[in-house]
């Protein structure tokens, strides 16, 4: 790429269009071919550009006006720049302007194109004095001029031209010397003109000579012609023209006659052709009918009627009659086909059009419509009947329930064991009906639309609109009714019995097992509905279907929730008592999780198919009634779980389980038994259900589950509802919570009763084991064994509870401690102060030991009982006795250290027992 061109000089720097401009600069192209663009004042001048050297181009300016750049573009250097300007202006011919050629005012520019130098002063100047009037800011006031030169004018071409006015107006600021120079200029010009035409001709001698020459030539030619042709040169021409006309006529006469003859022959042939067409028509019609080409038949028929319709010739009439006969047959055929099983919409429209063209009487279009409607109805009724029959058969044959996929194995005797048998007949009916509606109905509706919009070229009989609407509504409501009868008979309770019967009566038993299929039905219905919506049906018709869908959705929802409730109620059979620990809530079984899963599944299913509204459907939960029903259902469902827990804890078969109890002596600690059975459970669960955990443990599990359900599961379920955009179910949830709390209390009581009875019962026998007597007691060396047994038993309960749910320890042990304290108080009061000294010391030590051991779980009530027990014992007065008690206690503390550790509050370890 070379350097870009730069224009640094222009000669001249201004001029009218067509001025020959010398452009100078640098890098203006290496060769003429290198130059590929030249604009002057924005006008492309490349055409006239003449490349001279890399420094010089000569071109003619274009029609641009005003100042502008000269830009050169070369292949080697691209688009260039410019440091000078060219000014284009349009020259005007004024009164002071001489011109040798005729100036046409309008296309002035063209006249001047390329003509230069015709006058000595091509440089146009407005001012007759030749003085520039640039820069005159101040104008002489016009009123003053009027005053000075009344009736005058500054216009040069005016009759009233006043030189003073002109000078003041144009040159009142011009210096005197300038005016003098102007005068000299004007004088020169006038002199030039005074020289006469001579100077003008001199400057334009070229053109004048040319004109003279042309005139001379013209004259010469003309004279020559006159010489040759005589005075009147047109006579011979006229003669020649006449002669050639005659000759032409002669030439073409022959051709013309031949053409006439050909025309005649052709028309004769056409007539013959027409006759042949007529006679061949009956055969042709038959052939075309066979081929099914009705359009051809109709065309032929129309043609023949057109040609021979008014004929009087007997032969023709005879043939025509035959044709009419064929056509009548065709009409019948077409009509029959129209009423046959529905063909496609287009085919039907075509048939109708054909019939209309055949000028069939009656109203084929309407016939087609009503036929279509009839067919729709029959299809639906047929669907109902077949499926009804099928279900009936299934009911009779399969016994209890209409087949569902689960029952397949049991009803293997069923002959049609294909897939269809696994689907309830009602569901099949729904599918078939939905298909029928979405396939057939659009055709029916479109046919109707075509009929009323005049697309079928039929006159619409007044009143038909209403009839059509009735037909539409009838078929839609039949559709809805059939489905209601099959899926939701309860919604038809209010319809008249006769109408109800027409929708088919389904056996109530058939309803069972339908639940899981309902969402499927909703989907099928929705599909049909959407195809109806697309048809732009009247809203009355759509509302029927919308109502049906809404009811079905509600029904489906409630069925789903009922099902969920049932499966939750059945959960107790699935309890495996397999305890899983999680950090915060102690041990729970998988039951709550199962419950949550069931609820979530039900909601998911409901959401997928039922809850979301599609186009033109009402929100499911809008009506209050639905909302209330839904609340009840949810409450029922969740209460189901409470019932399950109740059944598991307090049900009759639960209590029947053998209880290992805690009423063993030290030698056979209950712990081992419990642990043992637990380990058996861990290893051999599932093999032997009966060897499940002891009832007490079950109670504890249930307690733990209840707690979990209350604090974790219910909020989670509430979350679920929120996630599925169901309204907050505060009512049902509160009710469930209440039920749970009650159950919790009952279960706890049952457990406490179960545990405390044997515990307390063992105290008295153990106290007097080995014929111990408080008034014959020896000096106490240690606490009595019954104390140790009691503590061990308490430890085992603690262990049991802790193993399932540490949280429960705090609810269970204080209660137990209270009962123990009460029993102790009772026993001590019963003794009626029959203690010897040692007995007193022993009793004091025992009670203090027990009290100290359970201090963490003690309650005010328990403390009161301990006090009561102490008061029942004679007061320990001597120092020796107190020291003895202290010794015993110290002994107890050191010996039972391990056991005592069990009672320490795990959270705030006390130093007391150490």
């Amino acid at each position: 790429m070379g350097p870009p061109p730069i224009v640094t000089g222009v000669s001249p720097k201004e001029g009218p269009p067509g001025t020959r401009v010398t452009v100078r600069g640098e890098f203006l192209g290496k060769t003429p071919q290198d130059l590929c663009g030249l604009t002057i004042c924005g006008c492309d001048c490349l055409l006239s550009a003449e490349w001279k050297s890399p420094n010089k181009i000569i071109a003619r300016s274009g029609p641009g006006k005003g100042k502008g750049e000269i830009l050169v573009t070369t292949r080697s250097g691209g688009r260039g720049t410019c440091t000078v300007e060219f000014r284009g202006y349009h020259e005007m011919i004024g009164p002071m302007k001489e011109t040798a050629v005729w100036v046409e005012e309008a296309p002035l520019r063209k006249m001047w194109w390329g003509r230069r130098g015709l006058t000595p002063t091509t440089y146009q100047h407005d001012d007759p004095l030749g003085i520039s009037i640039e820069g005159v800011e101040q104008k002489f006031p016009e009123e003053g001029l009027h005053k000075l030169f009344p009736g005058g004018s500054g216009d040069l071409s005016s009759e009233n031209f006043a030189a003073g006015w002109f000078l003041l107006e144009r040159h009142h600021a011009t210096p005197f010397d300038d005016l003098r120079a102007g005068l000299a200029f004007l004088r020169r010009k006038v002199d030039g003109q005074k020289e006469g035409q001579l100077s003008f001709i001199k400057s334009n001698v070229g053109s004048v000579m040319e004109q003279m020459d042309t005139l001379a030539q013209l004259k010469e030619r003309f004279e020559e012609d006159v010489e040759k042709q005589g005075q009147d040169p047109t006579v011979r021409l006229e003669g020649a023209i006449k002669e050639s006309m005659l000759e032409a006529n002669k030439l073409f006469e022959d051709v013309l006659t031949r053409r006439e003859r050909a025309d005649a022959t052709r028309s004769a042939l056409a007539v013959l052709q027409r006759f042949r067409f007529l006679f061949g028509l009956p055969g042709a019609i038959e052939k075309n009918i066979k081929k099914g080409d009705y359009d051809a038949v109709i065309n032929d028929y129309a043609r023949v009627i057109n040609l021979f319709g008014n004929t009087d010739v007997p032969v023709f009439k005879k043939v025509l009659a035959e044709v009419e006969l064929r056509i009548a047959q065709l009409r019948k055929l077409l009509h029959h086909r129209l009423e046959e099983a529905p063909t496609s919409l287009e085919a039907q429209k075509k048939l109708i059009r054909n019939l209309v063209h055949l000028e069939e009487g009656g109203d084929p279009a309407w016939d087609a419509i009503s036929c279509h409607s009839r067919h729709l109805t029959t299809t639906m009724i047929h669907c109902r009947d077949t499926n009804l029959a099928q279900e009936q058969a299934a009911l009779e044959e399969g016994g209890k329930t209409p087949k569902s996929s689960k029952q397949k194995s049991t009803s293997s005797s069923n002959q049609n064991s294909d897939w269809q048998t696994s689907v309830p007949a009602r569901v099949l009916l729904t599918e078939e009906l939905a298909d029928a509606i979405s396939e057939r109905f659009p055709d029916f509706w479109k046919l109707g639309q075509a009929y009323f919009t005049g697309e079928l070229q039929v006159k619409v009989v007044p009143g038909r609109q209403q009839d059509f609407k009735k037909l539409v509504l009838a078929s839609i409501s039949l559709f809805s009714g059939l489905l209601r009868a099959a899926l939701m008979p309860h919604t038809l309770v209010r319809t008249p019995a006769a109408e109800r019967a027409s929708y088919g009566v389904w056996h109530s038993r058939g309803m069972e097992g339908l639940g899981p299929w309902l969402p499927h039905c909703v989907r099928a219905l929705r599909h049909a509905y959407s195809s109806l919506i697309r048809l732009d049906l009247p809203s009355e018709a759509l509302d029927i279907v919308a109502g049906l869908i809404f009811d079905l959705r509600v029904h489906c929802m409630s069925t789903l929730l009922k099902q969920a409730g049932e499966s939750i109620r059945n959960l107790h059979t699935q309890e495996s008592w397999n305890i899983q620990f999680d950090g915060e809530h102690g041990g729970i079984t998988h039951l709550p999780a199962e419950c949550e899963r069931v609820v979530a599944e039900a909601l998911q299913l409901a959401k997928d198919s039922v809850l979301l509204s599609e186009q033109r459907e009402t929100l499911l939960l809008d009506p209050d009634v639905v909302q209330r029903d839904l609340n009840n259902l949810i409450q029922n469902m969740l209460l189901g779980f409470v019932e399950v827990l109740d059944k598991l804890a307090l049900g009759s078969d639960a209590i029947a389980g053998e209880s290992p109890g805690v009423s063993q002596m030290i030698g056979s600690p209950a712990i081992f038994q419990v642990r043992g059975s637990d380990s058996v459970l861990d290893k051999g669960r599932g093999k032997d259900k009966e060897s499940g955990p002891a009832w007490e443990q079950r109670l504890l599990c249930v307690l733990s589950n209840i707690e979990y359900t209350r604090s974790i599961l219910l909020p989670r379920i509430a979350d679920l509802f929120a996630r599925y955009q169901l309204p907050a179910q505060t009512g049902p949830l509160a009710a469930v919570k209440k039920a749970l709390t009650e159950l919790d209390q009952r279960v706890l009581d049952a457990y406490l009763e179960q545990r405390s009875d044997p515990l307390v019962g063992t105290i008295e026998p153990s106290m007097y084991i080995g014929n111990f007597n408080w008034h014959t007691a020896l000096k106490p060396m240690d606490v009595r064994p019954y104390v140790k047994e009691l503590l061990t038993n308490l430890i085992s309960v603690h262990a049991e509870v802790h193993s399932i749910s540490p949280g429960l320890v705090w609810r269970v042990l204080p209660q137990l401690v209270e009962t123990v304290a009460e029993e102790l108080a009772r026993l001590m009061v019963c003794l009626d102060k029959k203690f010897n000294v040692h007995g007193t010391q022993q009793a004091c030590a025992d009670i203090a030991a027990i009290r100290e051991a359970v201090t963490v779980y003690s309650t005010p009530t328990a403390e009161a009982f301990f006090e009561e027990a102490l008061e029942a014992i004679p007061r320990l007065s001597d120092v020796q006795g107190k020291r003895n008690v202290e010794d015993v206690l110290n002994n107890f503390r050191s010996r039972m250290r391990l056991q005592l550790l069990c009672f320490r509050d795990p959270k705030t370890p006390s130093t007391k027992s150490v």
Binding site: P12, R24, Y123
Partner: protein, 200 residues
């Protein structure tokens, strides 16, 4: 040649003188180092290029005017925009030398300034054998006007650059002087103008 952001100073030079004395030839020689043999009367040509004047880059704008009497009336317009003048005559033609007085007067009238940058240029110095105007004559006229006199030859390029550069230097120093505060020349000018208005 890209334009820098700040345009270099622009000096406007006008070529005046009778027809055929070689104004265009001088200009073209200066601009493009070429000598044009064939004569074609100029109407008004415009040239502009960058030159380095005493180490400073400036732009010179040359207006090459018509020498013919036909265009005398429009000269005023051109003169008004000029900042410096090269008044050219041919040393082989006495008429052209005499005409310089007329041009000088017209310039002074239009510019209204005695000290306008101005060079008297005697062209065609290569044709010394045909000399009609003596160096003494020319020098004395230049002295009267208070301007330099230079003899040039567009054909041999003798002194061509010198006249343009000398003139540009004068224009430049003149501009610097004008920009000085306290210079009363501008005032004088307006006063004189007013005076004339009064006379009219």
């Amino acid at each position: 040649m890209k334009k820098p952001n700040t345009q270099p100073a622009l000096h406007k030079v006008i070529m005046v003188g009778s027809g055929g004395v070689g104004k265009s030839a001088l200009t073209l020689q200066f601009m493009y180092d070429e000598f044009v043999e064939d004569y074609e009367p100029t109407k008004a040509d415009s040239y502009r290029k960058r030159v380095v004047l005493d180490g400073e880059e400036v732009q010179i704008d040359i207006l090459d005017t018509a020498g013919q009497e036909d265009y005398a009336a429009i000269r005023d317009n051109y003169f008004r925009s000029g900042e410096g003048f090269l008044c050219v005559f041919s040393i082989t033609e006495d008429d052209s030398f005499q005409a310089t007085q007329e041009f000088r007067d017209q310039i002074l009238r239009v510019k209204n300034d005695e000290n306008i940058p101005f060079l008297l240029v005697g062209n065609k110095s290569d044709l010394d054998e045909k000399r009609k105007v003596s160096v003494f004559e020319s020098c004395s006229r230049a002295a009267t006007w208070g301007v330099p006199y230079v003899e040039t030859s567009a054909k041999t390029r003798s002194n061509v650059d010198k006249v343009f550069y000398d003139l540009m230097r004068e224009i430049r120093s003149r501009k610097i002087e004008d920009n000085k505060p306290g210079n009363s020349r501008g005032k004088d000018k307006s006063k004189r103008k007013k005076l004339k208005c009064v006379i009219l």
